[in-house]
Amino acid sequence: MDNVFDYAPAPESRAIVDIKSSYGLFVDGEFRDSAAGHGFKTVNPATEEVLADVAEADEADVDAAVKAARRAWTRVWSRMPGAERGKYLFRIARIMQERSRELAVLESIDNGKPIRESRDVDVPTAAAHFFYYAGWADKLGYAGFGPDPQPLGVAGQVIPWNFPLLMLAWKIAPALACGNTVVLKPAETTPLTALLFAEICQQADLPPGVVNIVTGAGETGRALVSHPDVDKVAFTGSTDVGRAIAKAVAGTDKKVTLELGGKAANIVFDDAPVDQAVEGIVNGIFFNQGHVCCAGSRLLVQESVAEEVLERLKRRMGTLRIGDPLDKNTDIGAINSAEQLAKIRELSDIGEAEGAGRWSPACDLPDHGYWFPPTVFTGVSQAHRIAREEIFGPVLSVITFRTPAEAVEKANNTPYGLSAGIWTDKGSRILWTASRLRAGVVWSNTFNRFDPASPFGGYKESGYGREGGRHGLEAYLR
């Protein structure tokens, strides 16, 4: 008998999602066209199929959205008791759960991420975030920021394309819980779940203007963060844009939090639980196609076990399933955009040209769409560009070390400081290492775990401020 266990296609149905041919901006509780009538297209990165036309907000549209947010803040939201605000957030969380399949399918279609991830990680964690902060809305006096902390006003929020709905939740939930109103700009390649979220706000009868969604690209974002009536800027994205925002708000009274890039070290000691470490390496860099700011993109492995760990890693990579994001068995989906694919290719080619050994498992990539195979570079030194620059793709650089001190030194030898991983069976070594790593999130014997109660954010050029947990409230209170 033939022992080939081929998993038949197991596609999640698209039928649950109703994608409109065009989308307006969500301002003051209603969808409306952009003033100038400009728009852009969003595509399915797995097929290059155009999904919808989306309105592009210019300065006038952003101004209208900020005005709506200000009005809603002054007249309604800042006056509403926390307990009532909280109930709106609970309501939104429940609707997100009820519509979770729809959100997950739409997210996978617009972003390219596997349905397994949008279904099991993005959407449930986003809903959990609203649940978490809903409960804070009437307890802010106990949060450690003074007995009667006050909201800031209007928050301008700009989010990236790697976790569109989840990043929206990280931004909107704490802002609303603290009594702010928001104008949020989703990324131009992934606007659809934010627009579906706007519908959810309508469904929850959230007062108009409390949440406004303005779609567009960099110019829209610039107009939003530099709008004079925005009290608070929250941004997640690249360090370069974060820098520009920090410059733009200099000299103003705007409060800023930035969650930027990373080049995390995932440190594997010779006494690591090796099978779980391999899983952690895979999850660290191939989760979400490596489109993760806290991805474990540098594997620091102790020289004495480097060969064995690599062998196991390669064998494991051979079982990763790449392809249709809507197939429930897909582990690695599509790269989010042609532009990002070009960047990953460029840096990978540079890695090869710099002499690092490049390896990918044999895998068939679809003919259409944007795809990049899971890739490992060996023989990488700290001097290589692939060891220093954020690739934001499924590309791992392997660097070896000899002693714990060397591991820490190499891990910290980067302008970034978002996250890090430690794999060892020795508890005291975990604590020793964790205390020396200059990174905001340290995963020991695990990687890429997220929770609404857990503060997330970076050191150094990975940005400032924390999202999640009690700490996440600070960004939205004075």
Partner: protein, 290 residues
């Protein structure tokens, strides 16, 4: 002939910089005149250059691992020791404050006492701030998840003109939490800062943990704001909004944590935001299993 009456000649003090635990003159050889509140000559102070700023940052960076790695209890002891030594110099400080501000002796004494008390307050925070701002996070999974504050790193502090109380109010919080500091003293009233340096040098503060520059804000602060090995910038002493904006924009190059200048009365209860502004939150996850 009767001999002329002998009058004792003052020993005038040279006010130097404090870098890496030593008291160098500015490498530029420059100094500037410090006048009292009525415009009379008080002393010459070193006029720090960009290279002095560079050296100070280097010293602060070298001292960071050791200082941040000390136990919080020990840092608290060291900061308290500064207060103890200051207490023994109250008369000198009172005179310096009076000279710099023209306050009455009683008010100047009040400022000195408040400054020493403020340091004692911050000394006590060293081993409590982590308990107040950190803690266990109840994540939905089999993990022990814990957040704790850690010092930001090298922090450049542009001190305000309130010569002693303002000075310790900006230095105390960054120091006690484990940061190392490059402090640019008040430009018109730098002498208490130099005296404080001398106190720190004898009060168990390791060399390089606090470095004190005197000189021109407009000249030195931009070098600190743009320095890529400085992690935080406190602009409290920058009165000029244009300069403040320029410095903040410059600080963005490596995403320094910036505390903007704001109206504040140092006599007020300080709160903890001067500490938390230069603390990072580190969150560590660990699975719980057998």
């Amino acid at each position: 002939m009767t001999p002329p009456e002998v009058t004792r000649i003052d020993v005038r003090k040279t006010y130097k910089l404090y870098i890496g635990g030593a008291f160098p003159r500015s490498e530029s050889g420059r100094s500037y005149v410090v006048a009292d509140a009525k415009g009379r000559f008080l002393a010459n102070a070193s006029q720090a250059s960009r290279k002095d700023a560079r050296d100070a940052v280097k010293a602060a960076r070298a001292a960071f691992g050791g200082w941040s790695g000390r136990t919080a209890y020990n840092r608290g002891q060291v900061v308290y020791r500064i207060a103890e030594v200051l207490e023994g110099r109250r008369a000198q400080l009172e005179a310096e404050v009076r000279d710099a501000t023209g306050l009455t002796p009683a008010r100047a004494r009040g400022k000195v006492d408040a400054a020493i008390d403020r340091l004692v307050w911050y000394a006590g925070w060293a081993d409590k701030i982590a308990q107040v701002t950190g803690g266990a996070n109840p994540v939905a999974g089999p993990y022990f998840n814990h957040s704790a504050p850690e010092p930001t790193g090298v922090v450049a502090v542009i001190a305000p003109d309130d010569p002693l109380l303002g000075l310790v109010s900006v230095l105390g919080p960054v120091l006690t939490t484990g940061n190392t500091v490059v402090l640019l003293a008040s430009e018109p009233a730098p002498l208490p800062a130099v005296t404080l340096s001398e106190v720190m040098a004898t009060a168990d503060v390791p060399g390089g943990v606090v470095n004190v520059l005197t000189g021109s804000r407009a000249e030195v602060a931009p070098w600190l704001a743009s320095h890529m090995d400085v992690n935080g910038l406190d602009l409290t002493g920058v009165d000029d909004p244009v300069l403040a904006r320029t410095l903040e924009a410059s600080a963005a190059d490596n995403l320094k944590r910036v505390r903007r200048p704001r109206a504040e009365d140092f006599a007020d209860a300080p709160g903890i935001d001067r500490m938390t502004g230069f603390l990072e939150t580190k969150t560590v996850w660990h699975p719980m299993g057998i």
